[in-house]
């Protein structure tokens, strides 16, 4: 056992996957379905993924939009069934023990629509607590505690539709922690936040969730700075495949002194990270594009940005 970069204790396996693969068949019409005609084509957003993530570890999956990060998280959360391969979360088999897997996990997404907008924050959390089998006084105390943790106690009885983007995201974290999960999945947790709010959320994740609660965190991001700041290890993920896994420092050191994580990404994927100009939001939005010069380590033109999206 050792300490994670966030201060948690790293122990035995929390997530294990073996040749995990997901292929989505091309859409078929009713006639094809009835005739059991196989569909032509299809996409494979997760392609033979092997992972071993230890308890207490903050593991980042770093890749561009469309790389398959969300599909991988959804498979590990039992929302999508894999086409091939096996996986265990908190020691439970994804397919045979899906109920036990769901008891062990929390999911934090950026989809603010996943709450009932006309219910208050407290009502939302109490409802979702009941789905985790927590009721009445126990649920109320737990929700109260979590609202305090995410600093939303004062706004607990305000309708969710009146919350700011940052408050909504903190609500998503509170919901993810309702069942005191062993593993917390976070799908691009700072995507819709301004730089200040994103930094605040990262600090909160490090202090409260990792250091205080010692959770295993599986975080997907396309924000290099976030990956570097939060994660004990990152996997560079592109086109459904893991290109390389290691701690940010190890990965950078392997490329030579002065290398950045963006150089690591470029080296393993042939795509380079850049800032997008244009609109105010776009100016801070991270992006990846194929490196026209092919694989290489050149850092020319690599964008540096503050605080994510």
């Amino acid at each position: 056992m050792r300490r994670s970069s966030g201060g948690g204790i790293i122990g035995e396996a929390a997530i294990e996957t073996c040749k995990l693969t997901k292929t989505f068949a091309a859409p078929r019409g009713l006639a094809d379905l009835l005739r059991r005609r196989p569909s032509a084509g299809g996409v494979t957003p997760v392609d033979g993924v092997d992972l071993l993530i230890r308890k207490g570890e903050v593991f980042g999956i770093l890749g561009p939009n469309g790389a398959g990060k969300t599909t991988l998280i959804k498979i590990l959360c039992t929302l999508i069934l894999p086409t091939a391969g096996r996986a265990k979360v908190n020691g439970f088999d994804l397919e045979r023990e899906s109920g036990r897997v769901r008891e062990s996990i929390g999911l934090v997404t950026t989809d603010e629509r996943s709450f009932y907008w006309r219910l208050t924050g407290r009502e939302n959390l109490e409802f979702f607590a009941s789905l985790h089998n927590f009721y009445s006084d126990k649920a109320r105390d737990m929700v109260d505690d979590l609202l305090g943790v995410v600093d939303l106690k004062d706004a607990a009885d305000v309708r969710f539709l009146n919350y700011s983007a940052g408050m909504k995201q903190r609500m998503a974290i509170a919901r993810g922690l309702l069942n005191n999960p062993a593993v917390l999945f976070m799908d691009e947790p700072t995507r819709s936040l301004d730089p200040g709010a994103a930094q605040g959320l990262r600090d909160f994740i490090k202090e409260e969730i990792v250091r205080e609660r010692g959770k295993t965190i599986f975080v997907s991001t396309h924000n290099l700075e976030e990956a570097e700041e939060l994660c004990d290890r990152v996997a560079i993920f592109d086109e459904g495949k893991i290109k390389v896994i290691g701690s940010p420092n190890e990965l950078k050191a392997a490329l030579g002194e002065g290398s950045k994580l963006s150089d690591v990404f470029l080296h393993y994927t042939g795509k380079r990270f850049e800032e997008r100009g244009g609109t105010e939001a776009g100016a801070t939005a991270p992006g990846f594009r194929p490196d026209r010069r092919g694989l290489g380590r050149g850092g020319g033109g690599l964008g540096r940005r503050r605080g994510g999206v």
Binding site: L79, R102, R113, L119, F127, L131, N133, Y135
Partner: protein, 275 residues
């Protein structure tokens, strides 16, 4: 089912009802508007019944002879079929569109429980409507003095099981095809015409009555009218009760299997939250 599990289901049911009630009450105007226009519906049939008078006596005799009493029970209890047919598929679709389905499915609560419990409020609201229909009916002269309430409740329970099974089948189609559910269309279009909602099925030519005998709503409304208007005993209601039990025994397991298959298929295709 273990006591602990039953208690958990009960507590969850309360949470779903509370959630739906708060959501419904956040649209108070719509809620009261729906109740208000229900009165117009009843009054329309009241005056139609006055116009018909004793003209349909030959057909209405088995139900006491009064058209208003006949149609009141028909429109009140057919509401359960409508709620079942639409409720389950709409709750799948509503949660998909609101974006809340995924957040619910990542909890230990089973998908079928989520969909069933999401529909509870619609059934409670439908029951409230039935009660209002009956109260207004009594105020307008319908006699329920000799009603066999126990038999009516048994038929109601079987009706809900039967109709819910059809509703779950319908939701299974929505889960896979997203739109164009044939179960809903089939039962929606045939039940009012052949199920005896607005007129006794004896009005239909005998070859069309065959279709009526294939629909659970026919037995449900028949039994309910006999129980409420004429106070038939359970023994006298045995044909209706027996047929509804048979329908339930066939449809309930089939619908649960279909729903499980639909959820698995949607998880396989990654379309669980698509709409």
């Amino acid at each position: 089912m273990k006591v602990g599990s039953m208690f958990a289901t009960y507590r969850k049911a309360l949470s779903f009802v509370k959630r739906s009630y708060i959501l419904q009450m956040s649209y108070k105007f719509e809620f009261f508007l729906r109740l208000f226009f229900m009165f117009f519906n009843i009054l329309t049939y009241y005056f139609v019944a006055k116009l018909i008078g004793t003209a349909g006596m030959k057909y209405l005799e088995p139900y006491g002879g009064d058209y208003f009493s006949f149609v009141l029970i028909g429109i009140a209890f057919s509401g359960y079929l409508m709620v079942s047919l639409r409720g389950f598929s709409e709750s799948v679709r509503d949660e998909q569109m609101m974006g809340t389905l995924e957040a619910m499915l990542v909890t230990p609560t089973d998908a079928s429980a989520i969909i069933t419990l999401s529909t509870l409020w619609s059934f409670i609201f439908a029951s409230f409507r039935v009660l209002l229909y009956l109260v207004i009916g009594v105020l307008l002269g319908v006699s329920l003095a000799g009603a066999n309430v126990l038999a009516a409740l048994i038929i109601l329970a079987l009706t809900i099981i039967c109709f819910s099974s059809i509703g779950i089948l319908s939701a299974s189609f929505i889960m896979i095809f997203k739109r164009g559910d044939p179960i809903n269309m089939l039962f929606m279009s045939t039940s009012e015409l052949f199920g005896g909602v607005f007129f006794p099925i004896s009005v239909l030519p005998s070859w069309l009555q065959t279709v009526s005998h294939l629909l659970p709503i026919t037995y449900s409304l028949n039994g309910m009218r006999h129980a409420l208007l004429q106070g038939y005993s359970l023994g006298e209601l045995a044909p209706e009760v027996g047929t509804l039990v048979l329908f339930s025994a066939l449809l309930l397991p089939a619908s649960l299997l279909a729903f499980r298959y639909a959820v698995r298929k949607a998880k396989m295709e990654g379309t669980l939250v698509h709409y």
